[in-house]
């Protein structure tokens, strides 16, 4: 344990900037992704302004250069090129630089070693390299706003040939920077995935069998496998598109017999595992927090694990449902419809098991529990609205309309982001040693919950009435003009929603110094991270813990408190002998 001994003499720069401690790297990922969450949110606000008040001067518009805002006497009006860049960059930054690092980067790094009883990741230096590749990728993505021609403007899916040749959008360098930035982020994610999988397989504490791992770690393990196998496909496709852009190859350029559909197949073959990468860790975090809040074991632990594994397997054979109307072979459409309908089943199982968890519980409505319940209720809506798209004839009508935008925001904002709020608030003491303020946490939750629904629920309605996606100025279409009041209503609600997030930001920042001091186990939870001081020292565990039971032994009859730490030895010899850590794990 030499790493543990000499941690204190390490120079400041090695301890905080180029640290190889998984907890410090988690905090680095947290700060980076929260910054990008704010940037993504601001981009969304500019989009909402343009959709709510098309071709009217945007307040603060003159701050932006002329390539983005047309200087007219009345004020600065947004140009369509800039709107397309906003659409693309809002999607890309939120998915790749906010939600993914928050779920996989932060909770992966923070929870995996602590929850399986390891002193650190299997390859600490590789873990540090993972952050120090992701951060420059983010800077590169932001810098693409400032290059000539503006940022990439072909959607976060960057369909060819619009993205394959600059003549169609006037964006040359911006698109190439987008491609290079995502490729570098791909290397960062791969480095992380290799680390997570090796750590979970090989470094579990004695007694921590596969079915005694918390569901958060299970979800992160399966997510790491999805990342490991999906991201290289994206890297390959991005590199081919970059070659089309620069050295004149014709993978996706129909002019010289390339195949635009090949890009869509490659992108979505990565794309669908990607959207499950964005939701599985959120499901894992929610299971942990719900069990803790309800003081009751997770209902059907084995079923939950099997559901996560089923989602992982099925996520590889459903990608066609993004391409029903793309000119793909209709016979394939039928196959993908059936597989897509089947993949709805594991999600349903998880929802029912969450309900089972809080059934007959002793529900403590602390802030993480509120956010977790928010996740479950919003994920129900998001999951159910997905069934509409699975049925191909209905998808003919609602594909590429705001119904799809509503669905994806219900699962990403209502789903992942609520779980991220729950996760940050729940493990905040473990990261910073202090608790976030409960009162302000609740105020923020209820305001966000209400405003969030006011913003995204009407999107189902304008989507059903035919409002297409990524439209710069809906009033150009006569049949969309009656929907303009709803667009304005959504814009104003969206501004309020973002304003409310300031409460969480302040609560987050102030609590670092002013928050109530947290002991080892403020939430009275069972998993191993709550058996070490907050924040845990370098090397986490003084003594390698021995695990005797599962993570969800809440309200167990043989112990009087309503929680039972995983490494607490059984009450007496006479009790059932502790599970010997069998040499061959089952």
């Amino acid at each position: 344990m030499d790493a543990h001994a000499h941690a204190h003499e390490m120079p400041w720069i090695r301890r905080y900037i180029f640290s190889t401690d998984h907890k410090t790297i988690a905090i680095q990922f947290l700060l980076m992704s929260l910054f990008f969450l704010v940037v993504g949110g601001l981009l969304a606000m500019m989009m909402r302004w343009q959709l709510g008040f098309p071709s009217e001067p945007m307040p603060g518009g003159m701050l932006l250069p002329d390539e983005m805002m047309a200087p007219t006497p009345a004020g600065a009006i947004m140009l369509p090129e800039f709107y397309n860049s906003l659409v693309t960059m809002h999607g890309t930054i939120m998915i790749f630089f906010a939600i993914m690092p928050l779920l996989v980067g932060v909770f992966g790094n923070l929870l995996i070693p602590l929850q399986i009883g390891a002193d650190d990741m299997a390859f600490p230096r590789l873990n540090m390299a993972s952050f120090w590749m992701a951060f420059p990728a983010g800077l590169l993505m932001l810098a693409s706003f400032a290059v000539e021609g503006g940022a990439a403007g072909a959607g976060w899916t960057s369909y060819a040939p619009l993205s394959a040749s600059g003549e169609y959008t006037g964006v040359y360098l911006g698109q190439q920077l987008w491609l290079i930035s995502l490729t570098i982020l791909g290397f960062a994610s791969l480095a992380g995935a290799v680390n997570y999988i090796t750590t979970i397989i090989n470094m579990r504490a004695p007694g921590m069998t596969w079915f005694r791992m918390p569901l958060a770690t299970w979800a992160l393990f399966i997510t790491a496998i999805l990342i490991l196998l999906a991201i290289p496909i994206l890297a390959g496709a991005l590199i081919m598109l970059l070659f089309d852009q620069t050295i004149g190859t014709a993978f996706f350029l129909p002019a010289s017999d390339g195949e635009p559909l090949l890009w869509q197949h490659l992108f979505w073959f990565f794309g669908h595992p990607e959207v499950y990468i964005l939701i599985l860790p959120a499901m894992g975090i929610t299971s942990d927090v719900l069990a803790n809040g309800a003081r009751k074991p997770v209902f059907g632990y084995h079923a939950m694990v099997l559901a996560i594994v089923a989602i992982a397997f099925l996520s590889w054979i459903v990608w066609g449902h993004h391409m029903f109307q793309s000119g793909m072979n209709p016979m394939l459409g039928t196959t993908f419809m059936i597989t897509t309908m089947v993949i709805a089943v594991p999600s349903a199982i998880k929802v029912f098991n969450w309900l089972g968890t809080i059934y007959k519980g002793n529900i403590h409505l602390h802030t993480p529990m509120l956010h977790a319940l928010g996740f479950v209720s919003m994920f129900i809506i998001g999951g159910l609205s997905g069934v509409f798209m699975a049925s191909t004839p209905v998808d003919v009508y609602i594909h590429d309309t705001y119904f799809i935008v509503a669905h994806l925001h219900y699962v990403l904002f209502g789903g992942s982001l609520f779980a991220i709020f729950a996760g940050i608030t729940f493990w905040y003491p473990k990261m910073f040693g202090r608790l976030m303020n409960e009162k302000w946490g609740r105020i923020h939750f209820w305001l966000t919950m209400i405003l969030y629904n006011i913003v995204f629920w009407p999107m189902h309605s304008i989507g059903i009435q035919g409002h297409m996606r990524r439209i710069y100025d809906p009033t150009q279409y006569e049949f969309l003009q009656p929907l303009q009041p709803i667009n304005q209503f959504i814009t104003m609600a969206a501004f309020a929603l973002v304003a409310v997030q300031v409460i969480y930001a302040l609560n987050f920042i102030i609590s670092i110094w002013k928050g109530k001091k947290a002991g080892n186990n403020p939430w009275k939870a069972n998993s191993l991270e709550w058996t070490v001081p907050s924040p845990p020292p370098h090397g986490n565990f003084e003594l390698v813990p021995i695990v005797y039971r599962g993570p969800y032994e809440y309200s167990a009859p043989d112990v009087e408190e309503d929680y039972w730490l995983q490494d607490a030895p059984p009450p007496s010899e006479t009790a059932a002998p502790a599970l010997e850590p069998q040499p061959v794990a089952d």
């Binding site: 007219t72 810098a143 400032a146």
Partner: protein
């Protein structure tokens, strides 16, 4: 000043330090334009007015002017509303006296290689009125500002596809001006609007100011040149190009005339985007008469 301020405003964007280098590249175009203007003020035109002579071109059209199709503006109602009678295509415009309009006439060879001409400060305006480019053909000097003005208030996009210069594909959703300039000489950069297929215009970019576009009577003035032999070329979007040689003597306006006819349309070679270098080899030897 505005471009510098524009670049400063961009600094306020929430991008990181990398932005500074990228901004250098981004502002290049604006920065480039600025230096040239500064240079322009000091250097007066190198042509010695005392000994200069003018060139006036006359372009006539023989035979019946071809019948132009009507433009179907049904898909853009608020443009169609501006016309009382149905708008006609403007590919071939023949004046009352048989003069051919919209012909771009310029000095192709014969200028002294050493002379370099300052970029005029003023901007040439190409307006979009009633879903049409006014003027349809225009000449600018390399580096000179070309202002695209959207006076229709409805979305137009300007898709310039030169081969020598870098093309651009900008849109103008509302009444606004956008400035662009072409750093390299190129005769006839085609410009079109993708939203309205019938809109097209041509921009001639030269290193010198001796160019003009014929009016309804077919006349165009090429400005004052030092005396000497020159080759003048006339370019029309449907009938291709013709060259003629002319001698400029001090104090007089030399006349040069061209004539186009419908027969030429069949095998006309219309250079669009080909590079033309007025300081061609053997500046003072006359190029063979090419009709």
């Amino acid at each position: 000043m505005r471009d510098l301020f524009g670049c400063g405003r961009a600094m306020l964007m929430a991008t990181a330090a990398v932005f500074a280098t990228a901004c250098g590249g981004g502002g290049g175009e604006a920065g480039g334009g600025m230096e040239q203007e500064a240079a322009g003020e000091e250097m007066a035109s190198p042509v010695d007015m005392a000994t200069a002579g003018g060139i006036h071109a006359m372009v006539m059209f023989e035979g019946m002017a071809p019948e132009m199709d009507a433009i179907d503006m049904a898909s853009e109602p608020n443009c169609a509303a501006r016309y009382t009678d149905t708008p006609m295509a403007e590919e071939v415009v023949v004046g009352g006296g048989g003069g051919l309009a919209n012909v771009f006439v310029y000095v192709r060879e014969g200028l002294d290689a050493g002379m370099s001409f300052p970029t005029p400060g003023g901007a040439v305006v190409m307006d979009q009125v009633g879903c049409r480019y006014v003027p349809r053909v225009v000449g600018v000097q390399a580096g000179q500002d070309l202002t695209f003005r959207n006076s229709d208030g409805l979305p137009h996009n300007i898709n310039a596809s030169p081969s020598e210069n870098r093309g651009f594909n900008i849109s103008q959703p509302v009444n606004m001006d956008t400035n662009r300039n072409f750093p390299l000489a190129e005769v006839m950069v085609p410009v079109r609007c993708d939203v309205h297929g019938w809109m097209s215009a041509y921009v001639g970019v030269l290193d010198h100011p001796f160019h003009g576009v014929t009016d309804m009577e077919g006349g165009a003035d090429l400005g004052m040149l030092p005396p000497g032999d020159y080759v003048v070329e006339a370019w029309h979007e449907r009938y291709g190009t013709q060259t003629a040689s002319v001698t400029v003597t001090t104090g007089e306006t030399a006349m040069v005339s061209f004539s186009f006819s419908e027969a030429m349309a069949a095998n006309a070679v219309v250079p669009m985007g080909e590079p033309i270098d007025p300081h061609g080899p053997g500046a003072h030897t006359l190029a063979p008469e090419a009709h």
